[in-house]
């Protein structure tokens, strides 16, 4: 149990009239990169806020063995997060931000931070308010990546960044940052950009967990079948989770299906996370 970075039982977050997170259980071991995927308003941010000690909650929750609502400050020595929009103080200069993080965060490495900044156009004397939105995100990422924490939470980290930097960022994250000791949780709407780096997948819908499995499991359990229109009826009889049409061909998504049987009807593919997501959200529980 102590191996799990995040351990939640019956985690619930209620706002006045709505339930944002509805009695969920989570067990996230270390050394994983977890994609937390859900439509807007599904409860992703509420769940993350509870995990980061930014909001109260009901139920049991332990992050790195600590209670986030009581020990936020202590927890933040081993946890780092980027919230969904660039939230760096606008008045601060880059060198001040670095000096401040250095003296408050015991695990911050100035050299690493400068290394990441060197690949950007940001200079130390810039004020945050002089930077473009994308540069602010770059700065924030440079700081966060230079902190040696056990859990990194990225809530829409690349919003407003161009595709070159996004690719670069995820490559850096995987090559330089990630290791067995660390856990990364990412939420994003651009699923296709992160699916190749994820080790686990959690779908969240209406405050509940709709899917929680490893990427290997996804590849084992789910299969996509592409059939010509003539075979559509036969394919439909095999109880697909979801069906869609593309250029006149029918695409079906199956869970734990007999692959031999499916092969006779058409081409088999591993579904993309995005397709699996759409299927799960529209087709009910997985």
């Amino acid at each position: 149990m102590m191996n799990n970075v995040i351990e939640a039982r019956g985690l619930t977050k209620r706002y006045k009239s709505t339930v944002a997170v509805d009695n969920i259980d989570l067990h996230i071991p270390s050394g994983r990169i977890v994609g937390l995927i859900g439509p807007n308003g599904a409860g992703k941010t509420s769940a993350l806020k509870a995990i980061l000690g930014l909001a109260t909650y009901d139920g049991e929750l332990s992050v790195l063995g600590k209670n986030p609502s009581k020990d936020r400050a202590a927890l933040m020595e081993d946890v780092c997060f980027i919230a969904d929009v660039a939230v760096l103080p606008r008045w601060i200069r880059v060198w001040q931000l670095i000096e401040l993080t250095e003296s408050i965060h015991p695990k911050f490495s100035r050299e690493k931070c400068m290394e990441y900044l060197a690949s950007t156009k940001i200079t130390l004397d810039n004020r945050v308010k002089q930077l473009s939105k994308g540069m602010v995100v770059q700065l924030h990422l440079a700081i966060v990546m230079a902190i040696d924490v056990k859990l990194l939470v990225l809530d829409e980290p690349t919003l407003g960044l161009d595709i070159l930097f996004r690719k670069q960022f995820y490559t850096n994250l995987l090559n330089d940052y990630f290791d067995e000791e660390r856990t990364i949780i990412i939420t994003t709407h651009q699923v296709e950009e992160i699916e190749h780096i994820l080790s686990d997948l959690i779908f969240i819908q209406d405050g509940r967990i709709a899917l929680d499995c490893s990427m290997e499991n996804v590849q084992e359990s789910y299969v996509e079948l592409i059939v010509p229109p003539d075979n559509a009826v036969a394919a439909r009889e095999l109880k697909p989770l979801y069906e869609r049409e593309l250029f006149g061909r029918h695409i079906f998504l199956y869970e734990n299906a007999n692959r031999q049987q499916l092969k006779e009807l058409g081409e088999l593919h591993t579904p993309s996370v995005a397709d699996l997501f759409v299927a799960t959200m529209n087709g009910g529980a997985a």
Binding site: Y15, A55, R72, M76, S103, H105
Partner: protein
């Protein structure tokens, strides 16, 4: 300790304009005014004739009286602009202290650092109580030194001795320490107000100034009205309590002694709860009074609530 220092530095960086530039500008104004005064004299006067007469007239005043006037002047009249500016700076700093980062959402960044909400609150309170007053004080002292130097040079130039004229008769160090003590004592005395401002700052959804002023005004007006309905008299209300509190504060102000002589007094002598003569003993008398104890209790309630709200500031 390291973290607290870092957080204090952050407050200073963010408020450099208010904490440092404001007193520097005031000091600059003082020096410019002095220079303008000297140039004016030089312009209309043949070789500083009237300035020489002024110096001679001053030198005829009794040395101890001269010293007293210089002392009173350097803790009341001369720091006047600094005092007023400092009050405004601290007031608006505290009003924004727990509001600004909620408004621009940078609170999410601050909360991602391993610094507790308590430490954050302490750093902001200390900035208002110690950092800002000490900077204002230091720049006032610096301004005084520049003014003394310039004046000494001028006095020397007109053939008088600056030491016997004013340098030797006043005791600037006594005046400066008294002023600093009064600033710091005032920070403690004003804690109920500071606590209130931080509380407002931590809950106001917008326009903290409105939320800071409106509730006390409503309460006081209701009190006055109810008193008036019941007894046809106007007795003590919240305005009176607040007014009396600050009239009793250890802040040095200028007052007449009844014989047309200006004296330095602590606060404004409206009541005789405390001795208003500006002495170190009277300052400590205030700080170790029952009044102060009650004030600290009120401040603790305000600050405790502000902290409670700060912990929940990222809820929605």
């Amino acid at each position: 300790m390291n973290r607290l220092m870092a957080l204090l530095k952050r407050e200073y960086w963010e408020n450099k304009g208010a904490f440092r530039t404001t007193p520097l500008v005031i000091g600059g104004i003082y020096i410019v005014l002095l220079l303008m005064f000297l140039i004016t004299f030089n312009h209309f006067d043949n070789e500083f004739q009237s300035l020489k007469e002024l110096a001679r007239w001053i030198s005829q005043i009794d040395a101890s009286l001269r010293g007293e006037i210089i002392y009173v002047g350097s803790i009341t009249f001369f720091p006047g602009l600094f005092n007023i500016a400092l009050s405004f700076v601290v007031f608006f700093y505290l009003l924004g202290s727990l509001y600004d980062d909620r408004k621009d959402r940078s609170i999410l960044f601050w909360k991602s650092l391993p610094a507790s909400d308590t430490l954050t609150l302490v750093s902001k309170l200390l900035s208002a109580m110690v950092v800002a007053p000490v900077i204002f004080w230091a720049i006032y002292v610096l301004t005084s030194i520049v003014i003394m130097l310039v004046t000494s040079v001028v006095v020397l130039a007109i053939g008088e001795n600056p030491w016997t004229l004013f340098l030797g008769v006043g005791n600037p160090f006594k005046a400066w320490s008294m002023l600093l003590l009064s600033y710091l004592a005032q920070s403690i005395w004003a804690l109920p107000l500071y606590g209130w401002l931080m509380l407002v700052s931590s809950f106001a959804p917008r326009i903290p100034l409105l939320f800071a002023i409106l509730p006390p005004v409503v309460v006081a007006v209701l009190q006055i009205w109810i008193e008036f309905l019941q007894t046809f008299t106007l007795k003590k209300n919240l305005f009176g309590v607040i007014g009396e509190w600050f009239a009793n504060s250890p802040f040095i102000s200028i007052n007449g002694d009844g014989n047309d002589r200006p004296i330095a007094s602590l606060g404004i002598p409206l009541t005789d709860t405390f001795d208003h003569e500006a002495t170190v003993a009277n300052i400590f008398d205030r700080l170790f009074s029952t009044h102060m104890l009650i004030g600290l209790a009120v401040a603790a309630v305000f600050l405790g609530t502000a902290l409670w709200l700060r912990r929940r500031a990222t809820e929605s």
